[in-house]
C-alpha cells in the first residue's frame, strides 16, 4: 500500500512494541517545531507560545475526532498508555472498592492493579478462553455490590484477540460501572468509538499505530468523571497561577509540568497521516497481511499459532511457536539469518501467557503495520519454514 525505502532489507514485524518506520511527516513536524516554533504551550502569551499551544490543541482535536469524543478538552495528553492507566487506576480507586479485569492484560494494567490491591482494593481477574477471548457473561458474574470499574484491554498485545468492548460497555452502563479500556494496541489501527462502545476512560499510546514518537500518549475521561479521579501528579499548568492548589478542570488537572511538545507535534502528523490514508484502508491492508501470514504458517508442520486465528477478529498481531524451539532462539535466527525483527518471550503480559499455556517461555510475536508488504509476509513464512526444518539460509 505504502512504499518506503527501508534500511537495507530489514523486515520490521515489531510494530506492537513500537511502530517503525514512521511516516516522514512525523519527523518533519518534529523538526519544524524545534526549528520554527519552540515555545512553551500555555505558558506565555507570545506568538511562539501560542503556536505551540495550537499544535497541542490540534492533537487533542484530532484524537477526539478519531475516537468520537465530543469535546477535545476531554483528552489528557500523557507520556504513554502506562501513565494514562496509572492516572485511571490510582486516581479512581479507593480501599474497599472492587474492580474487574481479565487475565489477558498487559502489565501496564496488571501491575498498577496489583499495587492498588496491596492498598486495599479488591480485584477479580476474569479468566479468558485459550484463544484469549473474554466471555461478557463472566464479567456479569464477577460484579459485586462494591464493584466500581472494569479495566480491560481492547485487544491482546500477545495474540491480537479483539475483546467484545461494546458488550462489556453495555454491562458497565447497566450496572453503573466505570469502563476503562487499554487501547495501546488498537488506537490508530482499529476503529474506536467511545460513545457506541460506552467507554468512560480510554488509555492510548502515541508511538504505536498512531505513528507518533515515543513519549506521547493520552487518556480520554468522560464528562464529569474528573470529579472522581484524583491527579497523581501535581504542579504548574500555566493556568490559575495565583492558586497553590491544583486546578480542578480538564485537561489541566492531569497535565502538570511542561508537556512533550516536540513529541506531540510528531503525534499530530502521525494522526494526520492516518487520516490521509484512511483508517479503513489501513485496517484492510493489515487484515490482508495478517490473513496471509496466518494461512501460511498454519500450514507449516510443527508450528503452533495462538489466539483466535482470524484476521477479522484480531488486530495485526500474531503469536506462534516452533515445536521444540525456544522462542528467543527463533527470534534471534529470524534477525540474524533473515533480517526479520520480532519479539520473543512474555511481552510484558505474564497472565496472558498463563492463559495461553505458553508461560514461562512465551511465544514469538509478529506485529504488522501498514508499511509492511505481502512480499515481506511471504519471505517471513518461508523463513519460519526453514528455521523449523533446522536449515539455515546461506
Amino acid at each position: 500500500m505504502i512504499i518506503i525505502i527501508m534500511k537495507k532489507n530489514i523486515i520490521y514485524f515489531d510494530n506492537a512494541a513500537t511502530s517503525w518506520p514512521k511516516p516522514p511527516q512525523t519527523l518533519t513536524a518534529m523538526q519544524d517545531y524545534l526549528q520554527n516554533v519552540g515555545g512553551s504551550p500555555g505558558r506565555s502569551g507570545h506568538r511562539l507560545s501560542l503556536e505551540a499551544a495550537r499544535i497541542v490543541f490540534e492533537t487533542r482535536e484530532m484524537l477526539s475526532q478519531l475516537f468520537n469524543v465530543p469535546d477535545p478538552l476531554r483528552i489528557v495528553l500523557t507520556r504513554n498508555a502506562t501513565e494514562s492507566l496509572n492516572i485511571a487506576i490510582f486516581g479512581l480507586l479507593n480501599p474497599g472498592d472492587h474492580v474487574i479485569t481479565s487475565d489477558m492484560e498487559h502489565n501496564s494494567v496488571m501491575r498498577p492493579l496489583r499495587a492498588a490491591e496491596a492498598r486495599g482494593v479488591d480485584i477479580t481477574v476474569v479468566p479468558c478462553g485459550s484463544n484469549g477471548l473474554i466471555d461478557p457473561g463472566d464479567v456479569v458474574k464477577a460484579i459485586r455490590t462494591n464493584t466500581k470499574a472494569i479495566f480491560i484491554t481492547n485487544a491482546s498485545n500477545v495474540t491480537g484477540t479483539i475483546m467484545p468492548i461494546a458488550d462489556i460497555g453495555k454491562i458497565a452502563r447497566e450496572h453503573d460501572l466505570v469502563l476503562c479500556v487499554d487501547a495501546a494496541q488498537t488506537a490508530g489501527c482499529y476503529p474506536i468509538d467511545v460513545e457506541a462502545m460506552h467507554i468512560d476512560l480510554l488509555a492510548f499510546t502515541g508511538h504505536k499505530s498512531l505513528f507518533g514518537p515515543s513519549g506521547t500518549g493520552g487518556l480520554y475521561i468522560r464528562d464529569g468523571l474528573e470529579n472522581k479521579i484524583e491527579p497523581i501528579c501535581f504542579g504548574g499548568t500555566g493556568s490559575r497561577s495565583e492558586l497553590e492548589v491544583q486546578p480542578n478542570f480538564m485537561p489541566d488537572r492531569y497535565e502538570s509540568g511542561t508537556p512533550n511538545t516536540i513529541g506531540i507535534a510528531g503525534l499530530t502528523a502521525g494522526i494526520e497521516f492516518i487520516r490521509s490514508k484512511g483508517l479503513k484502508n489501513i485496517t484492510a491492508h493489515e487484515k490482508q497481511l495478517t490473513g496471509l501470514f496466518l494461512q501460511g504458517i498454519e500450514a507449516i508442520k510443527g508450528v503452533t499459532v495462538y489466539g483466535i486465528k482470524d484476521e477479522y477478529r484480531q488486530i495485526p498481531v500474531v503469536s506462534f511457536n516452533i515445536q521444540g524451539m525456544d522462542p528467543a532462539k527463533v527470534s534471534l535466527e529470524l534477525d540474524e539469518q533473515f533480517e526479520i525483527m520480532s519479539r520473543p518471550g512474555l511481552h510484558c503480559a505474564p497472565a496472558a501467557h498463563k492463559t495461553l499455556g505458553t508461560y514461562p517461555s512465551g511465544t514469538v510475536r509478529f506485529s504488522f503495520s501498514c508499511f509492511n508488504t505481502e512480499e515481506q509476509i511471504i519471505k517471513a513464512i518461508e523463513a519460519i519454514r526453514q528455521i523449523g526444518k533446522g536449515r539455515k539460509r546461506k
Partner: protein, 78 residues
C-alpha cells in the same frame, strides 16, 4: 459615546479553552485577537480573547454551550 477607544476581553480557564474558542471564531469569521491577560484584570499568566464591544453578542452566541467562559470585561485602551 465617550470617544475613547474601548474593547472587551474574554477570560477562560486556560489556554486550551482560549484556543478552542479561537477555532470557533475563526471558522465563523468573527474578528478577535489573542492577548496576554491584562494585569489589571487578573494576575493569571495566561492569554485571553480581545474583541470590539460591538462583536460581543455574536461572539458570545458563537461560543454558547461550546466553550466555558470565565468572565467578560470592558476596558478602555490606554
Amino acid at each position: 459615546m465617550s470617544g475613547s477607544p474601548s474593547y472587551c476581553v474574554m477570560l477562560f480557564k486556560s489556554v486550551s479553552y482560549v484556543l478552542k474558542a479561537e477555532k470557533i471564531l475563526k471558522k465563523e469569521n468573527l474578528p478577535h485577537k489573542l492577548i496576554p491577560v491584562p494585569k489589571k484584570i487578573s494576575s493569571d499568566c495566561g492569554v485571553c480573547l480581545r474583541f470590539e464591544p460591538n462583536m460581543r453578542e455574536k461572539i458570545e452566541a458563537a461560543l454558547f454551550k461550546k466553550v466555558e467562559i470565565e468572565e467578560i470585561c470592558k476596558l478602555c485602551e490606554q
